[in-house]
């Protein structure tokens, strides 16, 4: 049997996250909510998740995203960083967030 080629990426401050082509974030006018469309499923990101995902443009690093949120919210930067990394790592494990190619390795 072939050894599994791990696709898992590790999210850290330097990662430049973006959505792959099979994960599409859009506003659904009918349900008046943001949705993340992925194969066979529709995900309903909450307000914070939407804010984070909108910043995942393949150019910003995770640290930049955390800075942007820290400037906007009163929470401690470390708390925000923990939440952002946890959310992105969870989505990356499911294949719905990838690292921009030029930063790979």
């Amino acid at each position: 049997m072939n050894p599994a080629r791990p696709r898992r990426i590790r999210i850290d401050g330097e990662t430049r996250p973006q959505l792959p082509r099979h994960a599409r974030l859009r506003f659904d006018d009918t349900r008046q909510a943001w949705v993340l469309l992925v194969p066979e499923r529709v995900l309903a990101p909450d307000d914070i998740a939407v804010e984070i995902l909108k910043l995942c443009d393949g150019a910003r690093r995770v640290d930049d995203i955390v800075d942007a949120l820290a400037a906007k919210y009163a929470a401690p930067r470390a708390t925000i960083a923990t939440d952002v990394v946890a959310l992105l790592q969870d989505l990356a494990d499911k294949g719905f967030v990838v690292a921009a190619r030029d930063t790979a390795e």
Partner: protein, 400 residues
């Protein structure tokens, strides 16, 4: 909607909580428009699989919706709030206008998934689909052993073409689901099928045991696995899920004949999904036309899709619970599984309102289980192939 600058973001106990799976109109009484719709663009197909999910009476090419009609339907669906559009068949790539349809779906904001046998795809046609905005491709496989898989498909060389198309899809960065239809004659290949999906760099593998309607019911004796085989398969999938976490997602559809509770078929009849047949009929599932006496509305009539979804007599026939006889009517599970599958109830009992015999509470369950077990051990190996002339028995001499 957007939080003020002084808002404190809530701590995420479980990061997955921030991005929950959206359930279609959970708990609502009205039947909200489905999140996803499946379009059977055509019943034409170069393969002849004996478990084809299309009806025994296939719709002819001349009855198919035109390009303009499909485009109108897609626009209507998007306006209604449908988010995902599965392009299926028959073999959807048999439609010459497929890329045009995918482009239109993308233009109106639908998330597109192509469900294909892939034997008609080459680099150019796949690239055209990717350019048109295709979001995801699902390729069916009949097994992992080329010769045996080609026999099931009824087409020599089919397996090799599928492998080639799957690699091309990944070259184009299209996310890939491998769909493996499982039955007695290929269930022993499961470990190799899992390895094949990994080797093809698939994102997801569907291990889908045959469901016995239409063509598959005709071929049940040749397809039904034994309970022991099904148990082994469950263990193999469980182990693979653990081993391949983060690499490959595996969905497993278990044959319901051996289940205790019936499946909540389609999430309930007409509750969260519909299917459009090649000629435009709106169906609660691909097999619904096997139930006689139901008149399904078509998008070709003068009714809107929204009207049909809310008011179609056939869709309303088995909505809710009022239609249920006993033992379903007083059953604690009646709104959990809705009495199982209407098509299976009709096929096996002659009345679509009866309890699905897959349920242990059905008076027919014991007999069904015994029949399945008997066929699994004594059943013949030969197939009746799917085609437009009512099926063709497998030729003599070519046994495995």
């Amino acid at each position: 909607m957007s939080p003020s600058p002084t808002d404190v973001p809530p701590a995420l106990a479980d990061p997955a909580d921030g991005v929950a799976v959206l359930e279609p109109h959970a708990g609502s009484v009205a039947y909200g428009i489905p999140l996803a719709v499946l379009a059977e663009l055509t019943h034409r197909c170069p393969l002849q699989c004996p478990y084809c999910s299309n009806p025994l009476e296939l719709e002819r090419a001349r009855a198919e919706l035109t390009t303009a009609e499909w485009k109108r339907v897609m626009s209507e669906l998007a306006d209604l709030g449908v988010l995902q559009f599965h392009l299926s068949g028959g073999e959807p790539t048999a439609r010459r206008d497929l890329a045009e349809l995918v482009r239109h779906a993308s233009d109106v904001g639908l998330y597109t998934n192509l469900i294909t046998s892939a034997v008609l795809l080459d680099r150019d046609s796949l690239a055209a689909l990717a350019d048109a905005g295709l979001c995801h491709i699902q390729i069916s496989f009949q097994g992992s052993v080329p010769k045996a898989a080609d026999r099931v498909a009824g087409l020599n060389g089919a397996h090799a073409k599928k492998i080639a198309a799957a690699r091309l899809a990944r070259d184009l960065d299209l996310p890939l689901t491998v769909n493996a239809v499982i039955h007695r004659q290929n269930i022993e290949q499961l470990p190799d099928i899992i390895a094949m999906a990994v080797d093809l760099d698939a994102d997801r593998l569907e291990v889908a045991n045959v469901q016995y309607y239409g063509w598959a019911l005709k071929n049940r004796a040749a397809l039904m696995p034994t309970p022991a085989q099904v148990e082994d398969a469950v263990a193999i999938v469980e182990a693979a899920r653990e081993r391949l976490a983060g690499t490959l997602v595996i969905d497993h559809v278990i044959p319901d004949y051996y289940a205790v509770r019936p499946k909540k078929c389609m999430g309930g009849w007409g509750r969260q999904f519909f299917n459009i047949s090649p000629s435009g009929k709106i169906l609660p599932c691909h097999a619904a036309e096997t139930i006689t006496g139901l008149d399904f509305d078509s998008v070709r009539g003068n009714r809107s899709v929204a009207w049909i979804w809310q008011h179609s007599e056939a869709l309303n026939r088995f909505r809710g619970t009022d239609w249920m006889p006993e033992p379903c009517q007083s059953c604690a599970y009646r709104e959990i599984d809705y009495g199982g599958c209407r098509c299976q109830a009709f096929a096996l009992t002659g009345d679509a309102a009866n309890t699905d015999p897959a349920c242990t509470l059905s008076p027919l369950h014991e007999r069904l289980f015994a029949t399945a077990e008997h066929e699994a051990t004594a059943g013949a190996a030969e197939f009746v192939y799917r085609n437009f002339s009512g099926g063709t028995a497998e030729g003599g001499g070519r046994r495995r």
